[in-house]
């Protein structure tokens, strides 16, 4: 599986485009998308615009990304979640850890 990502040097931000099913199978590809990136005081954006399903493993992956970002003093924002995905994020109380919009 390949996960699209886009680096905007000017804004110092990386956007990761999550596929339709954001589950454990996306684990490695999701990590590859940000592993090499260093964005001091920058921003990682997870774009859920195309996703319609996510599982608890995906929540774990988001936490790993957060760890990676925090070490560089960068922020993580979750973008474009539909109502179902928002519900899952809310149940996990992720709004306390991520910027969700």
């Amino acid at each position: 599986m390949i996960i699209q990502h886009h680096l905007d040097r000017e804004r110092n931000q990386l956007t990761i485009q999550v596929p339709e099913r954001f589950d454990f199978q996306a684990n490695r590809a999701f990590r590859e998308a940000y592993r090499e990136q260093v964005l001091p005081s920058g921003r990682y954006i997870v774009d859920l615009g195309q996703a319609r399903y996510m599982d608890s493993a995906a929540l774990g992956m988001l936490l790993l990304l957060r760890e990676h970002a925090t070490a560089q003093d960068a922020a993580v924002a979750i973008h474009g979640a539909n109502a179902d995905l928002k519900r899952i994020l809310t149940i996990a109380r992720f709004e306390q850890l991520f910027e969700i919009f």
């Binding site: 589950d23 990590r31 319609r52 493993a57 929540l59 774990g60 992956m61 519900r87 996990a92 109380r93």
Partner: protein
Amino acid sequence: MNTISASPAQENTQNRGHALVVDDKPANCKMLAAMLKKLGFEVDIAVNGQDALALFDRHAFDIVFMDIMMPEMNGYQITHQLKKRCGSRFVPVIFLTALRNDDALARCIDAGGDDFMSKPFSFVILEARIRAMERIRQMYDELSGKNRTIENLLNVTRDGERLADRIFTRLVQEHSTPIDALRILQRPAEAFCGDLVLTARLPDGNVRILVADFTGHGMTAAVGALPVATLFRSMCEQGLSDAALLAAINDRLYELLPVDLFMAACLVTVDVKNNFFTFWNGGLPDALLLDHGVTTALESRHLPLGIQAELNARPEQYQFELTDRLLIRSDGLHEATNQNGRMLSEASLVDTISSFESGESPLDGITTLLDRHLDGHQPEDDITLVDIPLGRLAEIIEERPVTRKAVNHWQWSAEWCGEQLAVVPRFSELLSGLSPGSQLASHITTLETILTELYNNALDHGVLVLDSSIKDEPTGFCQYYEEREALLEQAAMLPGWIRLNLQCYYTEDGGELTILVQDSGIGFIARDWKPPEDRSRRWGRGIALITELADSVTYSECGTEVKVLYRF
């Protein structure tokens, strides 16, 4: 609007609040306003009733000074209107009057005024009257603050009781198999207490009944009832003995409840083929065995459950004849006190019971006796009486298999083994295929989440025996999924299986779906699982998610079986 707006006091920096002066004579207004500003008030002036009401609607005034004689609306009428608009706030109205007769002054108070001052008045009198009002307001605020606290506390208590009641009702519904021949009399007390009656059919066709009474009330009782009901059902399904069930319940309650809380209980198992029953009574009043007009008391010989660290229960055995009955009761029955503080006497109870023919249920007679005794008085404790027609339990079972009534219903099962295990099923497509165009449609995404999490848990922990906690290691998260992938590549060699059973019942406006997932693993202990308190822990979210999304989640068989109820 014909009002003069005044700026906040300059002479006095102390902010005493916002005052409204209502008087049709500008000279009077000006003088009073000046005095009030000096005392630290912000002042608004109204020269008639209409203006006064308009200002009152816009600002939250702290005090009002009211002239009586005005054209159009007089001071009494305006005050009457103002007081209606105050709601729960205390806004004192002080009448300013040149009238000296007692009647006029009494009318001030009748109209809702709080005090009056005779014109002309001095600065010293004005300040004294204001201080008196401030003192009253302070008391009023303290009182309404306390009232709010009491009201909030009452609401919390009521919520707790409603919740406990709901938990109890659901527990009994979900963990108890109704047995028609049993007759149960239950009278809940005013405050929910929690007598518990659980019934089950054992795999060999015998019938087991547990009648329990918790020492605690409300939520405390519900906390204890929860594991009791779960243990009761799962151990009865496995056909385990009375002694084993009692020991398990005792252990659980001992470990769970504080020292002063415990559960008095009677456990009866009726062998319907050989006409005997086993009986254990720990702390409940005598059960009564009715045998051809002879009443034998089966007394409590044991401590209630949850008191001793270990319980070695030895139930007694009794033979019975087909017309015999057994009556089990909670202490609420004989402790039921009427208005005169008198309890229901044991003699009157036994008299009532022996007035019935053998084989005839005395329950209606006892109900009448109890109602006459209480005479509309609410009992202080829950009252429970269970009437067991010992000889009739067998007939009923043979005659009537358990079926659920539902107009619309489907059931679907599957088993995954070998290579097929590695492909996580597309549950959303499966569900839309099973139930096209039904009320279920709008719940499919949620159900997909639940089913996928359940399937993955069964696969990861049941079949592949992976340990979630390795996800906490620095590289563990990836390692976990790599190990999983490696194992799944050889799935054809795996001995395990996952079974799924779906049962869906439709009602007029919704329905319920029961999901049962079983796996071939050795299981885990569901009670050891704890929701992740640390939001950033990387594992243990699956069960938390399911618990939030579904109506109930029950693990049994050491965690190799999970039943999820979802209402829609």
